[in-house]
Symmetry: C2
Subunit: 373 residues, 2 copies
Amino acid sequence: MIESEVDALVTLAHLGEPGDQVLGAYVRKLGPVAAVAAITARKSGLRDGAGLHARLGLADPQAAREKCQRIGAEIITRGTINWPTQLDDLGDGAPFALWVQGAAGLRLAALRSLAVVGARAASSYGESVGRDWCATFADAGWTVVSGGAYGIDAAAHRGALSAGGITVCVLASGVDVAYPRAHEALIARIADEGVVVSESPPGEGVRRHRFLSRNRIIAALTRATVVIEASVRSGTTSTANAAVQLNRHVLAVPGPVTSPMSAGCHNLIREQGAILASCPEDVLEVLGPLSVSIPRGGPDKRLWVIPQRPTDDLTPREARVLDAFPGRGEVSLNKLVCDAGMSPMDVTAALGILAIGGFVQPSGMSWARTGRA
Amino acid sequence: MIESEVDALVTLAHLGEPGDQVLGAYVRKLGPVAAVAAITARKSGLRDGAGLHARLGLADPQAAREKCQRIGAEIITRGTINWPTQLDDLGDGAPFALWVQGAAGLRLAALRSLAVVGARAASSYGESVGRDWCATFADAGWTVVSGGAYGIDAAAHRGALSAGGITVCVLASGVDVAYPRAHEALIARIADEGVVVSESPPGEGVRRHRFLSRNRIIAALTRATVVIEASVRSGTTSTANAAVQLNRHVLAVPGPVTSPMSAGCHNLIREQGAILASCPEDVLEVLGPLSVSIPRGGPDKRLWVIPQRPTDDLTPREARVLDAFPGRGEVSLNKLVCDAGMSPMDVTAALGILAIGGFVQPSGMSWARTGRA
């Protein structure tokens, strides 16, 4: 019997296929604990209920945590302080949990990130642009997110690493399953210097549809998606489409009209309204300032608001939590919950944003103002 | 004393600098004959009046016609049947007359034309795209208009010629002055198989500002301007800007982001709203159908209207002239003037459009319906 929300989310991450919106909506309505209980009791009423139930044997949260320890990974779940809240823009398709391996914190790294993706069968032109530009992005403090594949993905990761930057590799397999195998060393280096992340549990191999669901994570994690090269019908365009749906910027790099590997980019510019990027500075201009932007979801709002004063960009909820802080000294989570009158999860989420914005910082088991604002 | 409108326009073409809007407005108000008379009598009141007067000695219409005969050229003036009325979109900057050398009729050739322009210092990529695409355009029945310069211009002319198509070279010098000299043979071949045209009288050399005024003619003559390669600050962008102001389509061809010769094209796409063209078919799609489109000026209207029925696209004035035709048999210009109740110039202009549209055809000194519509 699973009683904690975190355990329920870890269980659900084992049960559902990535991006399963039906399961996502079900969990939204019942809450994770009740949803797992219903699936366990074969009373979910879900069409895939039997399939979900069948996977329960693989989904022991304690065993999952032990496995993580063995492979040097950690599990982060929705609503915790390390959760990249940008992923909530995926709605009912958002993952329940992520497996993360790496030195850099995913949430902070992803807050100042862009996706750089493209063809596996990239040309030397595309690989050179990917490598050079990503070195520039890393140099400017941006995290380069990509998929670890042959071609543009690998060039993007390598460019960021060459500049000593942080890069995030989102795998379609489990974090302990290097795919493609030839990139085992590259993926290991990314785990050492950046972050390797997956919504599939360790041990899981790749499946065709998981590449597509992985692409939506890349698009959702990042502020913009840059397509370096793509053929006309390619998986790369699925990342671009996901980015458009998520209200993220999409940029595409032109190339020779004689190169089939640039045809998809030209299509994105001409037909889909992608912004033409002719140099890294074009991309940086679209990304906006690095440090003071805080992500905001919702299709009607500007996705990334640049605040005029430090606190201008806080939501009422975040401002309420900040107001609950004493002028100086530390405060416990429990006291903040009490003083702000909000749920622990809401307070935790607000603390994450406030910490990223530099307003507060963790201090042991407590929190303190930084002096900003 | 000049009495005919044609002679007055030829005279004015000798007096003014190409694109002189002040002189253009003056001529619009007074009419060509009165304008020449006032300039001759030093009573124009124009700031440049003395300069214009000083050129009168070079501006003998009879001598101009004799010179044309010697060099195998002809002069066409505003309002005559051979006039490309698209040029009227230039307003007070429209030329008074054009010198034309060549086998093909300028007006008909220009009606189904596009401009292909670009850098003089083109790369082999740009030259190869220019040549290949223009062969395709010519093959599809389109006239390629360019400026006869090194680089893209020459590649465009040569591509059209290689496909047996018609190409128009608009010179900044007089039609008998090959510029650049190295293109003497190319320009001679264009005169043989296409059209060489200039608004400057024979014998005139190039001057810096005449390249800019020549570019507006290229933009105005054509349905769309395609920029193959351009550096960021280049004369090519003046053609593109003129095309935008004239409500013509502007397309630009992308290239490697590492090539400075593609930087101007990328700028046009990103900053100026030029359409990205990745293959000749992209251009043909924008150009629309070849035969049934009739040019319409004015910034508020769609410039090139594709009629649903043959006569749908006629203006009331043109429809009135068509209605004045007998059901069968020939009709003289004088009778049309009388029956339509319009001036000879208006009737002539309408006949030009009706002939291009395939509704009527000249028959000796008279006109007849073709049976269309």
